[in-house]
């Protein structure tokens, strides 16, 4: 049986001392809820991302990129699977319960999956900008995450997301070296995806944020966002692209880039399931779940294989 703590102060002292909470520990309910909500949103985002990626398997140009998209789809769905298992172990919701809530629009997933990817340029922008933003957020969680099962899963997820980011870089370099038409397409995608990608980090972290206090996250949103801007602005400019931010400023002395005022309304709309593509995405995910019911039934009804028999 796991550990118990006499008070929240006692528990927080344990966390501040670098303590790692395990699933069978008698953790405070508020901590359990906070960790669960965080994992559930991550799981939902992997699933929604995987389904979008799947939509692009037949549309991806070139066999090599197509193979990569196929594998990335499996990665995302696989990550969702692992995260739903870790989430369900916290006993706040069951796995079917989490999916029901997702399909009913009752639980959150990342803002970027509330928009529609219309062109291959959009897919390149997503794999280049959004994957990097997601990876930076996950790395900041992993660095110091107090919940053991999530931290260990994240280690594997981050390694694979790092690989996706390299694929994104490769795609971007290819399109940047492409024809004028390809470059125009990518600039349009940048115009459409720059702000959603930047808003993936969320608004500035509030003072007293429990995710920081309980060492679930280890970095403030605005710090992660600023370093993402610092990385991508000069990189995209060096390839001759324009950043769609009229308020962007450059400090020549320190060679730093700072984004202009951020309009958070689009983010709020996505969180309320009112993004440009929210309804279609959710309906699509629910329909996919219903359509694949027979697969789960076949697997559930299959006789249990004895340990060690070949798959």
């Amino acid at each position: 049986m796991g550990r118990t703590w006499t008070s929240m102060d006692d528990f927080e002292a344990f966390l501040d001392g670098g303590g790692i909470v395990e699933v069978d520990d008698d953790m405070p309910d508020a901590y359990r809820q906070a960790v669960f909500a965080f994992i559930e949103m991550h799981a939902n985002s992997e699933l929604m991302g995987g389904l979008t990626e799947r939509d692009w398997i037949p549309r991806t140009p070139g066999l090599r990129h197509k193979m990569a998209v196929l594998a990335k789809t499996q990665d995302e769905i696989g990550h969702a699977h692992l995260l739903y298992m870790v989430g369900a172990d916290l006993t706040v919701k069951t796995r079917p319960g989490m999916l029901e809530d997702l399909f009913a629009g009752r639980s959150k997933f990342h803002n970027v999956f509330h928009y529609q990817a219309k062109t291959w340029g959009d897919q390149v922008a997503i794999s280049f900008l959004v994957d990097a933003a997601a990876l930076a957020s996950q790395q900041a969680v992993f660095k110091n995450c107090s919940y053991g099962p999530y931290r260990r899963i994240l280690k594997r997820i981050i390694s694979e997301e790092g690989f996706h980011m390299r694929m994104g870089e490769e795609r971007m370099l290819r399109i940047a070296a492409g024809t004028e038409m390809q470059r125009t397409m990518f600039q349009q995608s940048l115009d459409d995806w720059w702000w959603p990608a930047l808003q993936l980090f969320g608004p500035d972290t509030r003072p007293g944020d429990v995710l920081l206090r309980w060492h679930i996250k280890s970095e403030r949103n605005e710090v992660l966002r600023a370093s993402w801007v610092q990385k991508f602005v000069p990189l995209l400019m060096s390839y001759g692209f324009t950043i769609p931010d009229p308020g962007l400023t450059h400090d020549p002395a320190a060679d730093t880039w700072t984004s202009g005022p951020i309009d958070w309304e689009p983010l709020k709309r996505t969180l309320a399931m009112g993004g440009p593509d929210s309804a279609r995405r959710i309906a699509d995910a629910a329909a996919n779940w219903a359509d694949t019911h027979w697969v789960r039934r076949v697997l559930d009804d299959a006789p249990t294989r004895a340990a060690g028999t070949a798959a």
Binding site: L70, A71, L82, V86, P149, I153, K155, E160, M167
Partner: protein, 154 residues
């Protein structure tokens, strides 16, 4: 400068290339290096075998190997190829890589047909899904410590 020393240096360079999905685990320890030939005038041929033929990391790994070998003193040219045979299997994963995978990634490697030990507590695990985030991995759970474990298998 003898060819043998060159081969050693090239091998050490290849060993610095990690699997893109397992930072810290060398492709040599994963059993991907099948052949390495060097000529006295510095021409190097590296033969690799993929874990799965549809692996999306193939070109990335080959590029990484080419870059690493190119930097070796005495190398005039390098040719990196993916070989169709032999077929990779988990038996090729070294003890070092197995230990790192268990310790750093909570990933077990299934050798043979027996039960798979949980990388955290050593208890036998239950298979939950034949496929995880990759075709070479299954998903298990540990009934003792509740860990969600990925299992690399042939």
């Amino acid at each position: 400068m003898t060819t043998d020393l060159l081969a050693d240096r090239v091998r050490s360079a290849v060993a610095t290339v990690d699997d893109p999905e397992y930072p810290g685990i060398s492709i040599i320890d994963l059993g991907l290096l099948e052949s390495l030939d060097t000529t006295p005038d510095g021409h190097v041929a590296v033969g690799l075998i993929p874990t799965f033929s549809g692996c999306p990391a193939l070109s990335m790994i080959a590029d990484d190997v080419r870059r690493a070998v190119d930097d070796v003193n005495g190398v005039a040219s390098v040719d990196v190829r993916w070989l169709g045979a032999p077929v990779w299997s988990v038996d090729r994963v070294t003890e070092t890589a197995r230990a790192t995978m268990a310790r750093e990634f909570t990933v077990a490697v299934r050798i043979g047909r027996g039960p798979v030990a949980c990388p955290r507590c050593g208890s036998p695990t239950d298979e939950r899904s034949m496929f995880g985030p990759s075709r070479c991995r299954a998903v298990h759970t540990c009934p003792t410590c509740a860990e969600v474990v990925e299992v690399m298998r042939a």
